[in-house]
Point group: C2
Chain length 377, copies 2
């Protein structure tokens, strides 16, 4: 049996599947949107993930199809399934990662705690929601957003007029509006699930966002009770089983100032909140995702040390490459693990990350933050 | 700065450099002897490492040249250095990995403890050595041996006649004879050294040989005093500095029944005795080797857990592939790390390895041995 996993998309998530695939003797093929992308070391086909023929031809060359992102159109996904391709996660699950309105409806059906939300088609409906929620809210485009894009805090109904004006096309016919949650921090719970049902969870983690982009992750989330960790795990298991997710699933959560957990977003793929596991857990999320989509038994999610801290390298140096800073960062921080996505530095772009593990959270945080800072000007 | 490391040889050692290279954004190019070799995922040129023109052309495409094996001829290595190619380890060091007689002479010059040995050109000289050493000895061909090949225990002078008859060609003009060391166990000490001098050591490990092939490694070596560990590290540092090794160096040692350490063999590259570090240490040997040959600061050699046990997968299943056993091994041993070299199973061949780490040596040994056994019939 040669196992060939095809990945649609060739960004850093596909790239970080390569080491796990090499170690397990899994052949990885990537459908890239362009030459020279982050995962370019794997066998690459170039094609648009919205191009039915390109995706179908790519799928013919692999045993299992999975994803670096959630944007492959439903009609293509469903045709793949009809043709007998093993697609993980499948279209019935991906639907809820592709459309935040459907996701909110589904989570409510599953009885999971979510922020107050509504489907709004125009500024009058938005005005009504604002009036009920203290005059402010978060408006989201249901499709296509990521890393803070497609998300806007509004304090007046007209502040979403441009998005209402665009409705009716591929973006759908309504916006999602949610209460502005009074949260004390953001958390994420990652699990992996096999088609045959086995599911494992990593520890609950705390995520820190800067300008809407994940900047830092602490595993496990500090000051978390066993009750909180149990609740988060139960939420993620309910999501995974309730919508049939296969592969890695990250559930982003708000911890409210009054101690509740609310589901914010879902990611049905390896996720930035799980990068720490590559260096901090027996089984990293990329290996686990490959095992899960191949329906192989899942690996231990035990941690190496008490704490793992992951800090993103956002932007990178104004001139030159990340590697130009290796002499500095490696001499100052010999215990930090450096991950370089092979992408050109650009302001705000995720170009790599660093992870530090240890028994002392303050020291691990210092090491990871200071190492990441070496890559900035 | 894009860093391009060229590796001569495309076996599993080159293959296991790929994950480390991907994470650090290092471009890896491999000179393979044939298509379809273990490290075939990297950018591959096909050529014979004994072919001067092929090696020189390959070297022109990389920033640093290193090796999966030690067999590139000295005259090619020296021409590369003369042309300004960064070759690590360099020819002056590799000489002692290529010729065991020179190695014995050099270690003696460095004042390091070695078994009694002699250079023997004929069976009369061998007879004299046998007479002085209880009637038995180990005869080695100075060049080209590995994994027990080119090594023979003899109890009569005529038992090496076939090797004496072959002398005079590429194998040199003499054999190496050594006392049959009365050892209680075999150990290995691995270090890595940068061209600019920095050197780091992993813990001393115990290695177990089966039919002359490494079958198991325990890190750290059990029941080892601090004195023994210090001595082993000092020996390896003396070797590395004394002969100017750059990159990874493994020093194979005998621990004699009367408690001494004697140097057995040297390997100037990542080595089977260091595979455990991929899963058991902050910096695995393949990442460290790449950092060392690029003259980057070296990484921490701290261990994740108290014990790491590595067991080789020798041979593999009689029919089918290693992956056919994944469902079994992964369900029974979810904490074990599986490494598959992508090589066709064949009796006695090293086709992969597994590693287990933990606080309990008996349990880690059980997990690793039982997992490896799942790959056998």
């Amino acid at each position: 049996m040669t196992m060939i996993v095809g990945v649609i998309g060739a960004g850093q998530l596909a790239r970080m599947m390569i080491p796990a695939a090499v170690e397990l003797g899994i052949e990885l093929r990537v459908l890239a949107e362009a030459d020279g992308m982050s995962a370019g070391l794997a066998a690459v086909g170039v094609g648009d993930y919205r191009d039915r023929d390109a995706v179908l031809a790519f799928a013919d060359t692999v045993d299992v199809l999975t994803f670096d992102h959630e944007h492959v159109p439903q009609e293509i996904l469903r045709e793949l399934v009809e043709r007998g391709v093993a697609v993980h996660p499948g279209p019935d699950a991906l639907l809820y990662a592709q459309d935040k309105l459907l996701m909110r409806q589904k989570l409510a059906e599953l009885g999971l705690p979510v922020p107050d939300w509504a489907r709004v088609e125009n500024s009058e409906e938005l005005a009504a929601f604002l009036a009920d929620h203290g005059g402010h809210a978060v408006v989201k485009t249901p499709r296509g957003g990521y890393d803070g894009k497609g998300v806007r805090v509004v304090r007046a109904p007209h502040e979403a007029d441009d998005w209402f004006a665009e409705l009716g096309g591929e973006g759908g016919d309504a916006l999602l509006v949610e209460e502005l949650v009074d949260f004390s921090r953001e958390l994420a719970q990652q699990v992996a699930r096999r088609p045959s049902g086995e599911i494992v969870a990593w520890p609950l983690v705390e995520t820190v966002q800067t300008d809407g982009v994940c900047s830092e992750v602490i595993a496990p989330a500090p000051h978390s009770s066993g009750r909180l960790a149990d609740l988060a795990r139960q939420i993620a298991v309910t999501v995974a089983e309730g919508i049939g997710v296969t592969g890695a699933l990250a559930v982003e959560l708000f911890q409210t100032t009054d101690g509740r957990l609310l589901v914010n977003e879902l990611a049905m793929r390896p996720h930035n909140s799980g990068h720490w596991s590559m260096d901090g857990s027996t089984t990293g999320q990329f290996e686990q995702h490959l095992r899960a989509v191949l329906d192989l038994p899942l690996g231990s999610t035990a941690t190496h040390e008490e704490w793992s801290v992951m800090v993103n390298i956002l932007g990178g140096p104004a001139a030159g490459s990340l590697a130009d800073r290796y002499a500095t960062v490696m001499s100052r921080h010999p215990s930090v693990k450096v991950h370089n996505y092979g992408k050109a530095p650009r302001p705000g772009r995720k170009v790599g990350h660093v992870t530090a593990v240890g028994d002392d959270l303050d020291d691990a945080s210092y090491q990871a933050r200071a190492a990441a800072a070496c890559f900035r000007d």
